[in-house]
């Protein structure tokens, strides 16, 4: 739409094939891009406020409800933040089982995004349902991979959306070795299907686009990062997790019910998620995933956001490979949960959610009641970067029609696999009394 003063405003009310709800607004004046913003209107849910007054034992169950797609991420970051406050560290067997549960979540989340949300873009189709009419086997493969990830979560957590087994100190109950072994042959199939997925996404024609990203992720000396490590960036940042709040700031902008994160030093955007993780942790990929990454034809580190789909597929291989290794090495943790003494303290933790770094901090009192909570989800950290990418993208496609521009912008945003529901968990609110 072009107004009489020559301002062309392009609006998209609702982005599709993303998790949660948000829109897009682009303003062009005299042929030049003036402004682009992601309008995040998904209603705020104020978790940080109502966590106050709840028992620390309830925190993993409550924070899981921030996101139906990555509940385990919220459980992992929250229990480890509270364990840090209590001064306890679960042993290797509990950590291994947590990693296995996390693998299940990454698997279903990545398969969902690759096959159901993003793949249709590469075929010019509006959905996986439409894609299935043309390539049923491809979509069925994606659904099966997703299902196996869900099954792994169900064995360990009882259900895939909001699993119930995770608690501060460990697990309410752990699976028997035989239950996990029963999934082994399906995971072997999943490993091969994931390798095929990398081949499939590598064969897609990725648009040429490069941006100067500061990639941020956890890094661990011995493994591909999930539940442990320190925070590193491609610009040389290397800090312990407890310095997160000094290195990264959250800003509140008018057009978003989610906060935007920036680097504290220069106020600049940064990138979290699969692409950033692989760029920073290529050498820690297990063998089959590393081989898939090498054979993908992508030169890592990679600064093309459209290669996010390849990064996600490589991580799919990694989760299958790691799941098999962890199941083979599995020993039932005994006891399943550490005992602890409640004390007044504060603790923080960060883990790698499927969409990137997820930071939590809690202050608890001597009765184990939460006094303060801070949660910084990956999508909120990526918003500024998404808008920066759109600013780079739009000037080159301005001669196209509004709907073509909108399609391209949505496609760019989908590279990030944004979870808008997660990002608006908090918020600075004004209450309009009903």
């Amino acid at each position: 739409m072009t107004a009489s003063n020559g301002t062309r405003t392009i609006r998209l009310e609702s982005m599709t094939r993303v998790e949660g709800e948000g829109g897009l607004r682009i303003e062009v004046r005299e042929g030049k891009l003036q402004d682009v913003r992601l309008d995040i209107y998904e209603p705020p849910r104020m978790f940080e406020a109502f966590l106050r007054g709840r028992s620390l034992r309830e925190v993993p169950d409550i924070t899981a409800r921030i996101c139906g797609i990555c509940p385990v991420a919220y459980q992992m970051s929250s229990v480890q933040a509270i364990e840090a406050a209590l001064g306890i560290t679960p042993g290797q067997e509990i950590s291994a089982l947590r990693r296995l549960l996390y693998c299940g979540e990454w698997m279903q989340s990545h398969a969902l995004h690759i096959y159901l949300l993003q793949a249709p873009d590469f075929f010019g189709m509006e959905s996986a349902v439409a894609l299935a009419a043309r390539q049923p086997e491809l979509v069925r493969q994606g659904l099966e991979l997703k299902k196996i990830g869900n099954e792994l979560m169900e064995i360990i957590g009882g259900r895939s959306v909001h699993p119930v087994s995770v608690c501060v100190g460990g697990f309410w109950k752990v699976p028997r070795r035989s239950e996990l072994l029963a999934l082994r042959s399906r995971l072997e199939w999943a490993l091969q299907a994931s390798i095929d997925t990398v081949k499939f996404v590598s064969s897609l024609k990725l648009p040429e686009f490069h941006a100067d990203y500061e990639c941020v992720a956890l890094s661990h000396p011995r493994e591909y990062p999930m539940n442990a490590g320190h925070i590193v960036s491609s610009a040389g940042l290397d800090i312990p997790i407890k310095e997160f709040e000094q290195a990264f700031l959250e800003m509140h902008v008018a057009h978003s019910t989610a906060l935007h994160s920036v680097r504290a030093e220069h106020g600049s955007s940064y990138l979290v998620g699969p692409l950033a993780r692989i760029n920073l942790n290529l050498n820690h990929l297990p063998p089959a995933a590393r081989q898939a990454a090498d054979e993908s034809g992508i030169a890592w580190p990679c600064s093309n956001p459209y290669a996010g789909i390849v990064a996600r597929a490589v991580e799919l291989v990694m989760t299958c490979e790691e799941s098999l290794r962890l199941i083979d090495a599995y020993r039932e943790p005994e006891p399943s949960c550490l005992e602890y003494t409640v004390r007044a303290a504060e603790g923080c933790a960060a883990t790698e959610a499927p969409r990137g770094l997820l930071y939590h901090r809690y202050r608890i009192n001597d009765q184990g009641i939460v006094q303060a909570a801070r949660i910084v989800p990956p999508t909120a950290q990526n918003y500024r970067r998404m808008e920066d990418d759109l600013r780079l993208l739009i000037p080159g496609i301005l001669e196209r029609t509004d709907s073509q521009i909108v399609d391209e912008c949505e496609r760019m945003v989908r590279n990030y696999d944004p979870c808008i529901s997660c990002s608006t968990h908090a918020l600075k609110v004004r209450i309009a009394r009903s």
Binding site: P43, G68, K173, L427, I431
Partner: protein
């Protein structure tokens, strides 16, 4: 549903975590078949195609927390022959309804940088507080099996059959040892509707009410039992004020328990 054309389905989201509509996509074996039997007119997370109403069936996830969403549920109602709420947020206000029991002004005054940017209602309310709801699928999250039962029964034209009994029945069927009786663990399974398969007692922990109150629940009696078993009042209150805490039966029981101790 009448007529020769496929039933028209729409899936909407209000304030929620996405988990209940994800359960639709988690029907991996049935998803493509369902998509062949119904016309999915509106489902932002799954497809870019957006078709206007009217719809035969609208599935609504999430609670009403903004003026904008209040307008939306009214419009959804006008546009839909049958409105079905999916999940604890849409059916009972969700975990975010915890704000309803707090001093909301304190929330406003607390931490926030630019409060004027945001508008939200003082309460998180279920869809049924604003428009007529034809059917509710409970749960945080809903169960895939129950969702499939509802979709299937609508397609063949019979009433959906969901359990109205308590989690206790599921526990007994599974042979779980009662966590409340054997170990004195706080559990609100006796007043919670079945549907999860007695998941938490199976994990050695008490039920925390994901599926909301069962039909003709007796929370006062349970509160009394919990007190007699030595469960601290604050813990019982937190269990009632949980994922479905704004549901009338749980809310009034919690209010009563709070008053009783003053």
């Amino acid at each position: 549903m009448a007529g020769d054309s496929k039933p028209r389905l729409a899936v909407f989201k209000l304030a929620s975590c996405d988990g209940c509509q994800l359960q639709m996509l988690n029907l991996e074996d049935e998803l493509l078949e369902i998509a062949g039997e119904v016309e999915i007119c509106y489902f932002l997370e799954a497809r870019s195609q957006i078709l206007d109403g009217p719809f035969d069936v609208a599935l609504v996830e999430g609670s009403v927390t903004t003026e904008h969403d209040l307008e939306r549920v009214r419009e959804i109602r006008r546009n839909s022959q049958m409105l079905i709420t999916i999940g604890a947020c849409a059916s009972a206000g969700g975990i975010q309804a915890l704000r309803n029991m707090q001093d909301v002004d304190e929330y406003t005054r607390s931490i926030y940088a630019n409060p004027s940017y945001i508008h939200t209602l003082s309460q998180s309310t279920p869809v049924a507080a604003h428009v007529t709801v034809d059917f509710a699928i409970n749960g945080c999250p809903i169960s895939r099996e129950q969702l499939l039962e509802v979709i299937t029964s609508l397609l063949i034209g019979r009433a959906p059959q969901l359990p109205t009994y308590s989690v206790c029945v599921e526990c007994k069927r599974k042979g779980n040892v009662c966590v409340l009786v054997s170990r004195g663990v706080a559990c609100i399974g006796p007043i919670t509707q079945a549907g999860c398969g007695a998941l938490c007692p199976g994990f050695n922990r008490g039920c925390f009410g994901c599926y909301g109150p069962m039909e003709s629940a007796n929370p006062d009696s349970l509160c009394h039992t919990l007190t007699m078993r030595g469960v601290p009042r604050a813990e019982t209150l937190r269990l009632l004020n949980g994922f479905t805490g704004w549901a009338e039966e749980f809310r009034s029981a919690a209010e009563k328990l709070e008053k009783a101790s003053i």
